[in-house]
Symmetry: C2
Subunit: 460 residues, 2 copies
C-alpha cells in the first residue's frame, strides 16, 4: 500500500506541477498581451466619447449595440447576433432645478431613474426630513403635503463600498411609494455617495407601486443634503422648489449583443461572460459599465490573439437595461432555459475598472476553497490579485442565474475605494479610468476565463 500510495502521490505531484507551470506561462503571456496590445482603453474611449451615455431605449443605446456588434464581428467569433429585448424607455427631460425658498439657494439634484415629472411649473412644499423611511411612521399625518427628504449618511467606515451602498439602496427604490402612501408630494433622497465633500447628485433606479400615486423623486448631492439639513434646523418652515420634466415613453425595441466562440471539446457547454452595455443618462457610463463590457471583450480578444482554442463555448453577452429593468438578463435567461442550454460557468464585470482585486464566487464552500488553493497562488504575489471569496454574482448573472442555480459564477472585483464617488454621476467619464488599471483587470479576467475553461472539470 505504501508503495502504491507514494507512486500515486508522486504522479499527481508531477502532473500538478506541470499544469501549474503551463498555467504560469499562459498567465504571463496573457498579462503581456493585455498590457502591450490591449484595446479595452481605446474601445472605451470610443464608447464614452463618441457614443456617450446610453440609457436603455435611447438612440445612443442602440448605437452602442450596433457598434458593439461590429466590434465583435471583427473578431474571431463563430457567431455574433442580437437578441431582441423590449425595454421601458424613460427620458430625463430638461435639466432639473431645485432651490430653497425663500432664499433661492440652489441644490444639486437629479431625477431618480423612472421618476415622473413635476410638470413645467415645478412644485414647492415644506420639507420633512427623516433619516430613514421607517421614521415616517412616527410623523403620521405630518407627511401630507410635504416633500419627504431622506437624509441617511453613507457609512464611510466600510471599505467594501458595495456593502455600504447595499445598506441604503432600498431607501431609494422604496421611497416614492412609501411617501405617496402617506400623502407626501415628492421624494428627495440623499445621494448614495461615499464622500461627504461631493456636490454631485447620484441618480439610480426607483419604482412606483400600482394603486399608489406616482410622485416626483429626486436625488440630492451629499453636500446639498448636509446643507439642506442645516437650513431646516434653522428654519423648519423652509420650502424647497423642485422641477423635473422626466417621463416614461413607453416600450422600445432593444437588444442584448451576443457573440460565441465555439468550444473545441465541449461545444454544448457554455461559459457566459460579459456585462451590461446600457448606462444611466448622465456622465458617460465609463466605470458603469463601459469598463465591464470593453474589458470582457478585450479579455476574449487577448485569448484569441494568443491562439487559444477554448474547450467550452465562450459566449460574450452585453446585457441591455441592467440599470432600469434588467430586461436584457431576463430575456437571456428565459431564452437559454427554453433552449435547455448548459451554461456551466459565468463571469460578470460590473463593478468598475479600477485596479483588479479578485472575484466574488457563487459556488460551494468546497469549490471556493479549491479555487483559493489552486488558482489564487497563480495571481496573488505576481499580479496583486488575491481576493477569491464566496459571494454574490453580478446583477445580470444573478437575474438569469435563477434559471441556472448550479452554474458557478464569478463576479469581477476591482478596488472598491473610489467607485461610489462617481457611480451614477456626471463624474463617471473616460478620464476617470486609468489605462493600466483597466488592462490589468482585462488580464485578470482573461486569466480566470482561461482557468475556468481548462479546469472546470477539476472544480466540479
Amino acid at each position: 500500500m505504501k508503495t502504491i500510495l507514494s507512486s500515486f502521490v508522486f504522479t499527481a505531484l508531477i502532473g500538478s506541477a506541470a499544469v501549474a507551470q503551463q498555467d504560469t506561462s499562459m498567465l504571463d503571456r496573457i498579462y503581456k498581451t493585455s498590457f502591450y496590445d490591449g484595446q479595452a482603453y481605446d474601445n472605451l474611449r470610443y464608447l464614452t466619447k463618441e457614443i456617450g451615455h446610453r440609457i436603455a431605449g435611447s438612440k445612443r443605446a442602440e448605437e452602442a449595440v450596433l457598434w458593439s456588434k461590429k466590434l465583435m464581428e471583427e473578431m474571431a467569433f463563430n457567431t455574433v447576433y442580437l437578441q431582441d429585448v423590449q425595454v421601458p424607455y424613460w427620458d430625463r427631460g430638461m435639466k432639473e432645478e431645485a432651490y430653497v425658498l425663500p432664499s433661492r439657494e440652489p441644490l444639486q439634484v437629479l431625477a431618480l431613474g423612472g421618476s415622473v415629472g413635476t410638470g413645467n411649473s415645478g412644485l414647492s412644499a415644506e420639507v420633512l426630513e427623516v433619516e430613514l423611511l421607517s421614521d415616517l411612521k412616527k410623523h403620521g399625518d405630518a407627511v401630507r403635503g410635504k416633500i419627504v427628504f431622506v437624509n441617511k449618511p453613507w457609512d464611510e467606515s466600510i471599505v467594501e463600498t458595495g456593502a455600504a451602498y447595499g445598506l441604503n439602496s432600498s431607501q431609494r427604490s422604496r421611497g416614492p411609494a412609501e411617501v405617496a402612501k402617506l400623502g407626501g408630494v415628492a421624494y428627495l433622497f440623499r445621494s448614495l455617495s461615499s464622500s461627504r465633500i461631493d456636490d454631485y447628485p447620484h441618480t439610480g433606479g426607483t419604482r412606483y407601486v400600482e394603486g399608489i400615486d406616482s410622485i416626483p423623486a429626486l436625488a440630492i448631492s451629499a453636500v446639498g443634503a448636509i446643507r439642506l439639513s442645516e437650513i431646516l434646523k434653522e428654519n423648519p418652515k423652509s420650502k424647497v422648489f423642485i422641477r423635473n420634466t422626466s417621463q416614461w415613453n413607453g416600450v422600445a425595441n432593444s437588444h442584448n449583443v451576443i457573440a460565441e466562440w465555439r468550444g473545441t471539446e465541449k461545444p454544448d457547454e457554455i461559459i457566459t461572460i460579459g456585462g451590461h452595455i446600457d448606462s444611466w443618462d448622465i456622465g458617460e457610463g465609463a466605470h458603469d459599465n463601459g469598463t465591464g463590457t470593453m474589458g470582457t471583450l478585450d479579455a476574449i480578444r487577448t485569448l484569441m490573439k494568443l491562439g487559444y482554442k477554448p474547450k467550452h463555448t465562450i459566449r460574450l453577452v452585453f446585457y441591455m437595461n441592467e440599470e432600469n429593468g434588467v430586461n436584457g438578463s431576463m430575456k437571456y435567461g428565459e431564452t437559454a432555459k427554453a433552449k435547455n442550454e448548459r451554461i456551466v460557468a459565468a463571469i460578470e464585470s460590473d463593478a468598475g475598472g479600477f485596479a483588479p482585486r479578485g472575484f466574488d464566487i457563487k459556488a460551494s464552500a468546497e469549490q471556493v476553497q479549491w479555487i483559493q488553493k489552486e488558482w489564487k497562488p497563480l495571481f496573488e504575489e505576481k499580479f496583486w490579485v488575491s481576493r477569491f471569496l464566496q459571494g454574490s454574482p453580478g446583477v445580470d448573472s444573478g437575474v438569469w442565474g435563477r434559471h441556472f442555480p448550479n452554474t458557478i459564477m464569478f463576479n469581477f472585483r476591482p478596488d472598491p475605494h473610489r467607485y461610489f464617488d462617481l457611480h451614477h454621476t456626471a463624474k463617471d467619464v473616460f478620464e476617470a479610468v486609468d489605462k493600466r488599471e483597466l488592462q490589468s483587470g482585462v488580464a485578470a479576467i482573461a486569466s480566470l476565463l482561461y482557468l475556468v475553461d481548462q479546469q472546470l472539470d477539476l472544480l466540479q
Copy 2:
C-alpha cells in the same frame, strides 16, 4: 497526557480568541476614526498647496520641516525635536529646453537631479541612441562628442511597477559617468514612466564619479523618447539642442523632524515610523512623499484619539534628503547607533497614497509566516489589505537599518498601478490623491502599528 494537552489547547484557544476579538474591535475603531476624523488629506493639502515641492536644502524644505514640527507639537507627543542634517543643495535653475535640429521640434525634458548645467547657451550635438549603457561598448569611439540617448522602454507587463522601476533605475544613476568616460558630451535618459502615452519627463537622482568629467544629464518623456527615436531612424545625423542651468550650491543645514510618544511598559524599546519629507523640485511631492509623511502622522493621531497607550515608545521620523542623498536617514542611524538605542521595529511609508494593499516585511520567513497566520486575517476580507510578504524595507529604513540588522521592518505597499505614471513628475500633485484611499491607508498603517506594539513579543 491527553487531558493536560486538551486543557492546554483549550486555554490557548480561549486566550487567542479573546485577543483576536479585542484586535478586531480595535481595528474597527481605527478604521472608523480614520475615515471620519482623519486629517491626512487636509494636512496633505497644506503641504502640497501652501508649501509645495521641497527639495532638500531649499527654503521650502525648511518650511516643511518647521510646519511638520508644529503639527507634531499640537499632538500628544512627549517630545518633538529637530535633528540636524547637512544636505547637498542642488538647484534646477531655469526651465530646461530641448529640441531637435534642424526641425526645432521640441522635446520635453527635465534635468536629472544632481546634473551640472550646459551653460546659458546650451549645447547641441549628434545623438547616439542605445537601449542600455552596456551597448555603448560596441560603439567605441563613436560615442565621442555625442549626446548619448538611452532609450530603454519600461516593462509594462510587470504589475509590480516598483520592480519594473528597479530594472532600469541604475541606468539613470550610472549614465553620466559611463558616457563621459567614452567622450560623450551629454546624457539623455528615457524617463522611468509606466506609460508610453505620457509626455511628462520624470526626474530622479543621478551621480558623477570623481576623476570623470561631469556632463549634463536630462530625462526625456516617454513620448519624446519614442519620437526622437523615430527621427533618428529617418535622419541619424539629426542633432539635439539641450539647455539646462542646474547647479550645485554647496551644503545646507537641514533637519529630520522627530517626535516621540513614550511607551508605558517598555519605553526604551522604540518603534520607528515615518517617511521622507523632502521631495523632488517639480510637481508638489504629493504621492512622493506627502502621503507617506502625512499618513504616518495621522496613523499616530488616530491611535492617540482613541486613547491608546503604547507599550513601546513610538517615534515618528520625517527624514530629510531621501531623494538626493539619504543624509537624513544616515544621520538618524548614526545617532541611534551612537546612543546604543534599541529600535525593535520600523514602519515606513514611501510608495504613494493609493489604495492600501499590505506591507513588505523585512523579517525571517518564520516571522512572516506568523504574521500571515495571525494578522493577515484581521485585514484581508474586511479591509481589503492582504499583502504580507517578505520583502525590502523602504529606502530610509534600509539606510539606517544597516546599523540595526535585527530590526523587523515593514514597508507600506499601496496599489502599484498608477505610481510610476506620476513619480518625480509635474503630475504628482494633491489632486492625484484620493481622500478615501489615503485614509484607508492611514487606517491600515495605524492598525499595523497597534499590532506591532501589542504583539511584538509574540512575533520575536
